[in-house]
Subunit: 456 residues, 2 copies
């Protein structure tokens, strides 16, 4: 490892510059206008992997954005095979006016690089590529077999990934999946994520009269779609966050006494949390802590809504329609398809007379959990301990990586969720960033993990 | 009258072209960007009035848009003086993509002119200018004294009109005000509006965390401002439209038995109403008819709302803030200032922990009613009878003309509300239009009214 560590220290600045090159490409998958940039990011990565020394580097066309695979399987059949998964697409940067520096011009401030995708997931994904490079460039044999799987549609729900995995089972067969798309608990608290929430994302349209009406002439006599939408959304949960959709909690697994105990041991400072977000009160289901609420309990949020007159001044209009994008975070063993159906049925049942509603399903994803006792998890813990000097904690995360459930089902492989970023990295928000220290520690932890793994 | 009628028939096409010239000017008062166009419309009208033969034509600067006055007071002191009020500003055209023809390029279709302002209020205001012209150009003495008062801020609540009237009481002194800014009940049912609703228009902002958050990482633990706003707005009224703000109904005058009887006699076809709007059910307070609901009862409507991600696709964001523009239509004797305060207090009281709310007041206006037995109203009825061949009905309208209450208080004058347009003219909506037949009948009714008035 010494040779590798030395190499990584020497190459640190070049590695940063290479990451910045990737961050400059606005590979926004949610907006079709950015398709050319997504393709550019894919080619860029393919070329980079070939230069690094990966073998069988391939860019696979899909119905959507390309999937990249690359192999290095020379450790021998008695050594584990690790499939590294990451994604090169990013969230849109808006609201863009809240960024302090251009979202696609990487800017270093306070030891962190600010750019969309810096942490989610280009920066974290890149740690493994640089760790592999270190083995190659120092003439060190990779102690495990490596397969890379990088996609460009994670932010839109990976619609083409599962079919691809199903189709390429043999190519992708592995002993475990390694994913760095989660956060450490704290900058000094390395952690391994053992649970992830799932997602059901829906878009509702409520339509009333066939045109915008004068609110004076019609107000009080015609159901207003914007009022109706608000009333409907207000009925989805109560004021403590308990979701009122019939059957919604049927498959929610209760937290075990041990899990709740582990939650209480996490060094969580609620005052700092509130101060950091500038809120006076946290929120949520009674009898659950904040950490439990955001990671082990399902939730319902309006992600966006719009209707009627939104410009300057006052327009006395009764809008013809109103819309909302909403999503539910799910926990084991909720099924996103079942939840989507329950949601649709519920919305239908509470649509008031005088308006019509329709619900469109965006992407969903299954919640997941990973077994602590799997040797991959133990190797990851050892690697963290070696680089960070302390044992990692085991946590659950509120976000979704639906593919974790798919990997288990299709390839029979558990996922090791090694996060190097922080929850304060502002992913999906303005001023997303990734501490350069965390980037370099991530690379070293990745290299150490491959070494530890071969010992089990 | 025969000479005048003949003149009007001969000049009909020119009168239409002159109206179209005015309609081509996008004098949108709600959007500061259109200020030059508002000024252009004012100068255009000033020049036109001078050409028609009005005297003392003046364009008065105000803190906002100019007010135009013009006089013709040669009928003698024993004859009534009529102050004609109208407005040359218009609502914004949006959503512009729903217009079948450009909103500021007057287009004739099915005998109507389609343009923003065609009915509200350029077209209706113009009827009186053309009727006065007919007296002048046929060498007929005007049988009453005329004062014109045209403003450019009606659509933003006339913030500078009341101070102007207060300042120019003598210049504007009159026996009655004539306003054509309401609708006839039906194309074959002339009507005089004896009641108008008032308005309180408010804008709410709900703010939560200091930045947009990832809904996976924070969802369920942080109050979502968009959810909170929906929940708050849902509490303002119940599902039948009964407003829950404490004290809201305290000053609402009950409908008299006679008024309710008059409502029932109006030829209202609810099936056609629903079909025209393409809605399956009407809506509103129990025990009131649709016509009562939209004109004699107060209402609460969301005019616009927005928050979070509104573009293509799905973004899993917990928005930092959410906004809504809302308005309440008021009825005698509700006071818009009192109602605005009650609303603010109520919103404050229902703002949930974890978010903050602020309420900003847009324009408001008092509700009004006019006495049936006033001789001006009787003259108007006679004029309608003469042109339309039938007695007008007396109705209340749901819209607001706050200035009616101000005229009564400041000048001691009742307003005669002679509508020539129809409620189906789509004012404030895409494809606003005004039937040319109604335009020409309006001009003749105006001229006849001046004649009838001098007989009382």
């Amino acid at each position: 490892m010494q040779k590798i560590t030395q190499y990584l220290d020497e190459q640190a600045e070049r590695h940063e510059q290479e990451l910045f090159e990737l961050l400059r490409i606005p590979s926004i998958s949610t907006d079709p206008a950015f398709k050319p940039e997504v393709l550019k990011a894919a080619s860029h990565l393919r070329d980079h992997l070939a230069r690094v020394g990966m073998e069988e580097v391939m860019l696979h066309e899909t119905a959507g954005n390309p999937i990249i695979t690359a192999m290095h399987a020379r450790a021998g059949q008695d050594k584990p095979t690790v499939l590294i998964y990451g994604h090169y697409d990013v969230q849109p940067p808006d609201p863009e006016d809240l960024w302090d520096s251009p979202p696609f011009e990487p800017t270093i401030k306070n030891g962190a690089v600010f750019a969309r995708g810096a942490s989610d997931d280009k920066g974290q994904m890149f740690t493994h590529i640089k760790s592999i490079e270190a083995f190659f460039k120092t003439g060190t044999d990779l102690p495990v077999n490596i397969k890379l799987l990088l996609e460009g549609e994670e932010e839109i729900g990976s619609p083409n990934l599962l079919p691809f995995i199903q189709d390429k089972k043999e190519l992708l067969s592995c002993d475990m999946v390694l994913i760095s798309d989660t956060a450490m608990f704290d900058e000094n608290v390395p952690s391994i994520t053992y649970g992830l929430r799932g997602l059901a994302y829906m878009e509702i349209e409520v339509t009333g009269p066939n045109r915008d009406l004068h609110s004076g002439v019609y107000g009080g006599g015609v159901q207003n779609p914007a009022n109706a939408l608000c009333e409907m959304l207000a009925r989805v949960k109560d004021d403590k966050g308990v979701i009122r959709i019939p059957g919604f909690y049927d498959k929610v697994k209760s937290l075990s006494v041990e899990e709740r105990k582990a939650y209480r041991q996490l060094p969580f400072n609620e005052s700092a949390y509130k101060r950091h977000l500038d809120i006076e009160e946290v929120y949520g289901e009674e009898d659950f802590s904040t950490l439990e609420r955001v990671s082990a309990r399902p939730s319902f949020d309006i992600n966006g809504m719009w209707g009627g007159y939104q410009a300057e001044g006052a327009k006395t209009v009764l809008p013809s329609k109103a819309n909302a994008k909403v999503s539910m975070r799910l926990v084991p063993d909720q099924d996103p398809r079942e939840i989507a159906q329950l949601f649709k049925d519920f919305i239908k049942s509470i649509t008031p007379p005088g308006v019509k509603s329709s619900v469109r399903e965006h992407h969903g994803g299954r919640p997941a959990s990973v077994d602590f006792n799997f040797y991959g998890v133990k190797a990851a813990a050892k690697a963290y301990k070696s680089v960070y000097g302390k044992d990692p904690l085991y946590t659950r995360e509120g976000g979704s990586i639906p593919i974790v459930a798919d990997f288990k089902e299709t390839l029979g492989a558990d996922s090791i969720l090694m996060g190097f970023g922080l929850s304060s990295d502002a992913i999906h928000s303005p001023n997303e960033h990734f501490a350069l220290k965390d980037f370099h520690r991530g690379i070293k932890t990745s290299a150490t993990f491959f070494n530890c793994l071969s010992d089990f």
